[in-house]
Symmetry: C2
Subunit: 201 residues, 2 copies
């Protein structure tokens, strides 16, 4: 039976944590028996958008290509994850309309923190002017106004962020809750003991 496809769309600055959180979410969805595909910005630039630059027009073209593939995967029941900066609101909204089953995740992180992390060493180059048109530095980022999930990665762990995304997918009916773990009587006793010690019982 075909499961309900959807596209989980991560947007945010370079270094905000999109790919990291996307991978944790993907692993968890996969472990629940679903087909998952991650359309990562870098992979897509390599495979579908080589030759495109970073003007607004080229960025929009790149995002529309990602949306095209996400749409096809989504209608075939795949749990599809896009993780690309996608700085412009209008083209994200186009993707939302075009794909239909669309869950937007704003991976929010202050620019200062992204610069501090500088995981790929790109901010240093952007700030020195070596890379022009860098989102957040010399190019705009238009954050979502009503994302389904709004993460704050400067103050929560990637695992906690992933947990909030998964909870939203369950709430929207795109994902079945993880099965309750089955404990042996001994394990159950230990858990009860622990809960009692913590004052929950």
């Amino acid at each position: 039976m075909l499961q309900k496809g959807f596209t989980l769309w991560f947007t945010g600055l370079s270094g905000a944590g999109k790919t990291t959180i996307a991978r944790i979410v993907a692993d968890e969805i996969r472990s629940r028996g679903r087909n998952v595909e991650v359309m990562d910005g870098d992979i897509v630039r390599q495979n579908l958008s080589k030759g495109l630059g970073f003007s607004k027009e080229d960025r929009d073209t790149n995002i529309k290509r990602i949306a095209f593939v996400c749409k096809i995967l989504t209608r075939n029941g795949v749990a599809t994850i896009a993780a690309a900066i996608s700085p412009y609101r209008e083209v994200r909204d186009f993707a939302r309309q075009d794909i239909g089953h669309f869950v937007e995740v704003f991976v929010d992180c202050p620019l200062e923190e992204c610069i501090r992390r500088d995981t790929k060493g790109l901010y240093a180059k952007a700030l020195s002017g070596e890379i022009p048109q860098f989102t957040g530095v010399s190019d705009p980022y238009e954050h979502p106004l009503h994302p389904e999930v709004w993460l704050h990665t400067e103050r929560e762990s990637p695992e906690a962020s992933a947990g909030r995304v998964l909870a939203k997918l369950e709430e929207l009916g795109y994902l079945s809750p993880a099965e309750e773990p089955v404990y042996s009587p001994e394990e159950e006793e230990k858990i009860q003991e622990r809960l009692a010690n913590l004052g929950y019982l």
Copy 2:
């Protein structure tokens, strides 16, 4: 349960019948309860390859993009159909390796017949020089050496061609045979009578 994905790759001259046959095949596969996607050359040029021209390099880039999407769909159990001229053998062989479950269909039709049909009016323009780099006229077409299916559309109907493609998919285990029709006793009697009249019984 995930069904076995595959990519059915139609190659041949413009006007040879790729899209026509692909659509008949797609409808039949869909009627057997499978998810089907058709990556038509024109649709892909519009959505993934706008801006690319018809040099060998640009054609190869276009085909690699089609192959990238076909690969993702195939590994998610979709019956995927590509219908693009794809004139160069090397990049088709790349697609075969990259996708894995790959069934190549050579839609063979003599150039003279394609020019006579000229369904899109493109050959007239190519022959007058209005369109440069037109496959078969001013650009090469390297036909497959060992395609899984070799169609001859100048001497068989699109339905007959589609039937041969479907038979090959069944033979390769990618597609379950169509269910036997169930006849009423009256219908069964008539069929027996007809077979007897034809000398089969």
